[in-house]
Symmetry: D2
């Protein structure tokens, strides 16, 4: 315990924001310089990275943020937001309930794809032939992690997820302009070719695979791929929560009430009930 | 229960997004047309409102989104995000924990300010003199709701919150350009003058008051002011969560461990313990 | 800023728990006296109220806690917990996602019922005839709050919610034993009679109405009725989350995938797409 | 898509609860048989395990649930609950915010301890000498997972966490009575001896280590150790949230406001500001 209180101030320390009465600086920039001069996408970059992007970098980031905002109310996150609103939850709580669902399986594929791309990139930098690096690291992923190759395959969008080729085309354009170097786009296409060949049918690159290319090209760390996806999907979440608020409804469950769930346990209703005396009850 | 399943499909219905294999439309626009052509701020508008804004409208919205991203780790939301990360929570969960805190008191002032502005606007449209409308509705707010006038006053930023005059200047500019009509800026300034006069000292318009002017000028409903604030502050939340992840730490509590909380209840340690037999224990 | 750090320690002050190295006291009782000597229900009472209940009080509280643990996967909270697990969320996060849904509409009816009972009780204490007090306060509730009388009516359980008569019978028994005085049971039955008469059909007292009787009889404040319900329902939430974890599944949405939601907005797929140039796009 | 809707009902299937109008069965037992006849701890067991425990099993579970309810407001979960309340969050949302924090680091140690105990138990069953099994598996944990041995060590409670010896004494008693066989208590003591010897000082068994002994002895799966801890700690969370609600406060941050955080980034306030023109701004 110090006499100065510096230990208390140091308990929370940050490179992000400084304040004095009447003054706010973000990453060293006065807030009033930033307002009106940088776009929301540039601000996201500044806050998460520490420096402002070039306009071309920001444009590419913006494409990824626009692409991932929504995938409809069958996504557990969107459904959760809508259900929450009908339970009386405010918009912030509905957004929280939904973003909480964007965990490893639902929102983590982008982060995982960045990791897989990095494995392959590292192997290539160490001298492996690109095709070999892809094949080997896909094998490694399936051996060490899971059969699902993050960023590839889609239950619904076959043979192609419409967002992926559009995003990749923007990366190609940015590579031609020298904004990025394009090697993660190549890696992702290499994975797709490998998977297509192995499965004998098109395995579409999905939104996570395509945005992970952009995030990797722009130098974002893997966990930020998840974080940026959460920011993007929060837009769809808010929109659906707000629409549900206008539609009304109370305690809206997942399925129409007439379709009761299926009970698969012992002593279903209609048959003999389970008797407490068979157990050793409290009294 | 229908034979067609239409009742199940209708259980979740939306104006926001349509899909078919290989196709996604948001508010009727193909997603591949939107990607690369609209900014993230335009996309936020489209998703929440149903139509695309003009560039000038989007620019004003963008200023509000940029202005509110962060206010430092003493804000409960930011602190919660950082604490969550040290508990092992992923970035999505840390963001959820923090956004959940942006409730009526922490994130709801913008929504409330939109409502107060609307009361005043309605009174003026019904013929009241602006100053009278302001005075009367401020009184009504304090009588019906709470002593706190939403959007005004700041514990820290005195005499002025640096974000407010900058945002208001952008609204004035947009009003001169005909993008908005400027009447909510006038209302907010009227409130400030009234509060200054009543308190006998400057009562700064804060970030909620200033962004509520923008949201009102642009026609956003009150609850969306809260939702848009959540989107904006999510940027700061993500940035702080990510910084904390890089700083490390485990189960980081609010204050340095050496400063134990103060116990104010019966039988403190060091004094006689409370005896179970004085109660009627279970056995 | 003080030189002693007492201001920091005082920032978090509590009557609930005191600690020193090797010592923990809850409400003044050493933790090692409580462990093995009080039931979980008694501990819940001690922590929320400050004193230990009698065994008879604890038994009645226990009945309410047992009664409300679950109502099946069509409840938004339970569905959210199960969906969360399939998104990769840990059990704590799944529980959080679900408890977050127990807001005013889904989990707040008990709190509201306590409030309504208190209105009626106060009117009776002030001299009103019980029937008049009920009729008047039901009217007031519908005028000031909402058409829904909290704690009464059930979409599914007609003519009777099986939990309510069982819980009320326990209250009657406790009243005969002098544990409680039974006046909230009378009030709740008065509401039911009034609603039956007004509707011309049985309006079942539901789980919220019945547990609110118990909580009121035992002297719990209204908000704790919500909190205790959350504790109770957390048991069902955990059970369903755990069952889902064992069932497996990935990103399980609300309805079977084959039933796509219904799109009700402009330019559905299959019809002409909406053209960006009709708007004023970014570039 | 089926014509019967059975696919929709099957989408959510469960062994836990069956319902018909006026009837609810949990694990086959009518709810009205359970209410008033089983304790809350027995109900928790029934819901998570599928069968009722004996009274002696329930008593041991109850001790673990009582022991872990709270550890004071410096725990991130408790602090989050209190902060949430001052942001306007309802009790259910405050509980959700706090339980969300009980992730791998804050609430996962019990689950991990069950896993470590199981490794050791398996090694012993396969013929290893107990001491060797402990030493080898502690090494394996530190090699494969983390340097922290889950369930052992405490920042504050030295040389002993008061909850652990009390809980272990109850396990010993239950082992003598034949309720459990006591082998996990032996394993945990073996770990403690090993760690004491390696560190050359007492390494206290903590609450997670001690409750994990009970959960293992009673046959609970590892993830349920986390889930049961969440149920238990929810009691403290609720109590602190409720106390904070009564204390009042608005947007209460982690530390007293006078102790501003420490800014460690570029261009602090008081020094030259960072110039936007050094970057490539939007306009």
């Amino acid at each position: 315990m110090s006499e100065t209180g510096k230990d208390v101030s140091d308990w929370w320390s940050t490179d992000i924001i400084d304040m004095a009465p009447g003054e706010i600086r973000m990453r060293g920039y006065p807030i009033d310089d930033l307002i009106g001069h940088v776009s929301f996408a540039q601000m996201i970059w500044l806050m998460t990275r520490g420096d402002l992007p070039t306009n071309d970098q920001a444009t590419l980031l913006e494409a990824a943020l626009v692409a991932a905002v929504d995938h409809g109310p069958q996504a557990p996150s969107i459904a959760a937001a809508r259900m929450a609103v009908t339970c009386g939850v405010n918009l912030n709580g509905a957004m929280a309930s939904a973003v909480n669902m964007l965990d490893d399986v639902h929102g983590g594929a982008g982060e995982q794809a960045v990791e897989l791309y990095t494995w392959i990139d590292t192997a290539i930098l160490e001298g492996a032939a690109p095709d070999d690096a892809v094949a080997k690291m896909v094998d490694r992923w399936q051996a060490e992690r899971t059969a699902f190759i993050p960023g590839f395959g889609h239950r619904f969008h076959t043979p192609e997820d419409p967002r992926a080729p559009r995003l990749l085309a923007l990366v190609d354009e940015a590579a031609r302009a020298g904004t990025v170097n394009g090697r993660y786009a190549e890696i992702a296409r290499g994975i797709q070719n490998t998977l297509n060949a192995r499965k004998g049918k098109p395995v579409p690159m999905n939104i996570d695979g395509a945005t992970a290319v952009i995030f990797s090209e722009l130098g974002f760390a893997g966990p930020l791929a998840r974080g940026l996806f959460c920011l993007s999907r929060s837009v769809g979440i808010l929109s659906h929560a707000w629409e549900q608020m206008n539609q009304g409804g109370r305690n809206k469950g997942p399925t129409p009430p007439a379709y009761k769930w299926t009970y698969t346990g012992p002593n279903p209703i209609g048959q003999k009930e389970r008797a407490l005396k068979e157990a050793e009850p409290k009294d």
